[in-house]
Chain length 310, copies 3
Amino acid sequence: MKETPVRIPHILSMADLSREDIEFIFQTTDRFREVGGRPIKKVPALRGKTVINLFFENSTRTRTSFEIAGKRLSADVINITKSSSSVSKGESLLDTVKNLEAMAPDVLVVRHPAAGAAQTITRMLKARVINAGDGAHEHPTQALLDLLTIRDHKKTLSGLHVGIVGDIAHSRVARSNILGLQRFGSKVTVIGPKSLIPLGIEAFGVGVSYDFKAVIGDLDIIMMLRIQGERHDRLPFPNLREYSRFFGLNLQLLQKAKSDVVIMHPGPVNRGVEIAPEVADAPYSLILNQVKNGVAVRMALLYLLSGTEE
Amino acid sequence: MKETPVRIPHILSMADLSREDIEFIFQTTDRFREVGGRPIKKVPALRGKTVINLFFENSTRTRTSFEIAGKRLSADVINITKSSSSVSKGESLLDTVKNLEAMAPDVLVVRHPAAGAAQTITRMLKARVINAGDGAHEHPTQALLDLLTIRDHKKTLSGLHVGIVGDIAHSRVARSNILGLQRFGSKVTVIGPKSLIPLGIEAFGVGVSYDFKAVIGDLDIIMMLRIQGERHDRLPFPNLREYSRFFGLNLQLLQKAKSDVVIMHPGPVNRGVEIAPEVADAPYSLILNQVKNGVAVRMALLYLLSGTEE
Amino acid sequence: MKETPVRIPHILSMADLSREDIEFIFQTTDRFREVGGRPIKKVPALRGKTVINLFFENSTRTRTSFEIAGKRLSADVINITKSSSSVSKGESLLDTVKNLEAMAPDVLVVRHPAAGAAQTITRMLKARVINAGDGAHEHPTQALLDLLTIRDHKKTLSGLHVGIVGDIAHSRVARSNILGLQRFGSKVTVIGPKSLIPLGIEAFGVGVSYDFKAVIGDLDIIMMLRIQGERHDRLPFPNLREYSRFFGLNLQLLQKAKSDVVIMHPGPVNRGVEIAPEVADAPYSLILNQVKNGVAVRMALLYLLSGTEE
């Protein structure tokens, strides 16, 4: 099944992945995505392989997605979360990872609050590493599943105009998607209040708008980002209602959009803050398609990094 | 093996289950209960199926019971607990569940503090749902394992007199057992201080007693409920010692009971509060039989909801 | 494969294990240690067996090691940690364990803060028990993997001089290693400040030194123990820097050691406190060999206690 050698030993950043890499990953994903629809959702590709989910930040969604992906490939999946980790005893990331390496895992899936953590880890071990989110830096598997979802619905990844709306400055999802979309020649406009848009981001080839209403009519895809309500005290705008009024997506605002626009959100959704419930649940909302594609993309990545033919 | 179609798509409430349904579940359980005694405790019935344990309240006992049941059926079992859940990020139950649904689970086992949560969830997804406790409402798998344990020891579920002792007002175990026992024509008397017995409960066809000592001699089965010691400040009686004196089961009080009475408790037990250690550990105590039957009943339910013949 | 009957039903203490027992465990380990290096790290020896990791104290390292060992043997592995346990509801250890027993586990791996907890548990159940650390008492699987690591590098376990440095008074690792090393006729010297060395420990046949510098030149193996930085307020010495100055192992001090000395540490390491980073990462440091051997030793123990030939 693996007719092309894997060029990339780790999945750390969308910056590492060429258009050809991404297309190859999607070809592999296409072969795995039907597994989730079978009565018996299991293939033996990773039997006898050990996948460790090492999460220094909680994430039901991403951890569960990787865990299901690994188990459907017949891997042994081990979950390690921050609360149960030696980190609370003050062990360094270096030592935690070296110790896991000594247990001979095949793939380490890592989420960590520090940008570059996954990259740093690759220098310490032989196992393959997948970055499941490193601070505000990157979240490449999210971008891959987002790109796949767009391709499913627009039949192309080129020539599109994608708006990413919200806290661009702190979003690894925005960053990874910008890199991925640009690979295919799509245009990205980042949209949000000035306080949430990094200064000089135009230099990376993206458009910038502080006026969602003015730009929405140009967009083929709208990616809403989550407002971190739990960090409410650090919100860089007066309050959530004010944010929602200008940058939340509701039915009224959506009337100005193209008739074939589609809506995406990496989740978890703050209903009534960045997105109205009626929009999140509408037929043009691809939020659940994203989640579904997430399992398939992660199966493909785990397989490409460590799978064997039997 | 599955000669009767499953009439019930979800296990939400004992109120949904007819006497025939319950008997059919027990027939299936009888085929699985010997698996736990084998040297190789594993059957392939749920290979390639995904069971998600979604627990918004902690429960070692119930979660472990479902996890072991699922694994012995060869299912992939995913545990999600509240602490690791997106709920802490403010995501709604609706979104949490819809996201899991997009990952194509076959069965969702749900414990939630809100009455009706499991029922609500079924409207949102295609997966089968098992209610593992929803607030003070129901805990049907506990009632099923309790009924099975009674049947094992009394060779019938009809014509018995069952006393349920403790915090009836807040007990989903009491509620589910009352519904189940009534299906088979057994009589239930609820016993406790007035503050713990709901007003008007007689309308549901149960007897009521505020005097354990007076009624114990009539009972074939005594089900002791756990006093929530951890909610001590909200105890609706002066103190635990006072409660224990009037409604705790000890050897002295047990002398007034029938010679073939059996004692049950859903656990975890508060030794010395609602039940004396000598009673909990006596031969007529079925507490560990309940736990053992729990794994078998849950295997049967998982199988009936999602299993396939290979 | 199992040509010798297992003499020991549980692994509770190094005091229970004869030299022959330990050698037999190592022979079994030798057969399993290559499994971790295979492309398919899985053998069917424990298929259909249930291993429960019951951890009342957190430990990423030990729990993960047992979990990987169990899964590579094809066992069903269930993790129960204190936070998710009924213990928080006030259930006794007795009841927790009896309830698990009713679910028919084959092996219970137990870590508990109370000395003797694992031993106590064996009186309550039929399942095999492995002590994964009981208070300041014993940690026999750590000692076994330490002995194996020494044997790998010194080709013998006899006639060596091993220094154990640190908080001897509260270390189950020290205690188990002393017992194990003495079985093979090696000499142990415990080293640390007076406040951390139990009075009268010489009666157990070990040497005592309060002066690391004076004794280091005699040692073949140096085992550094972790200083519990997280219990800083209870440190029985002025401060960590003071401790580190007299009992930390750094390159300068190491110049006084034998040329073929090897360094061990049970982890997690406090770099810069009890051990300098350059020492922890040096070729003569066996820290990661210990971790690697840990998985193999635990596979052997799980197999010896519950495995079957198929």
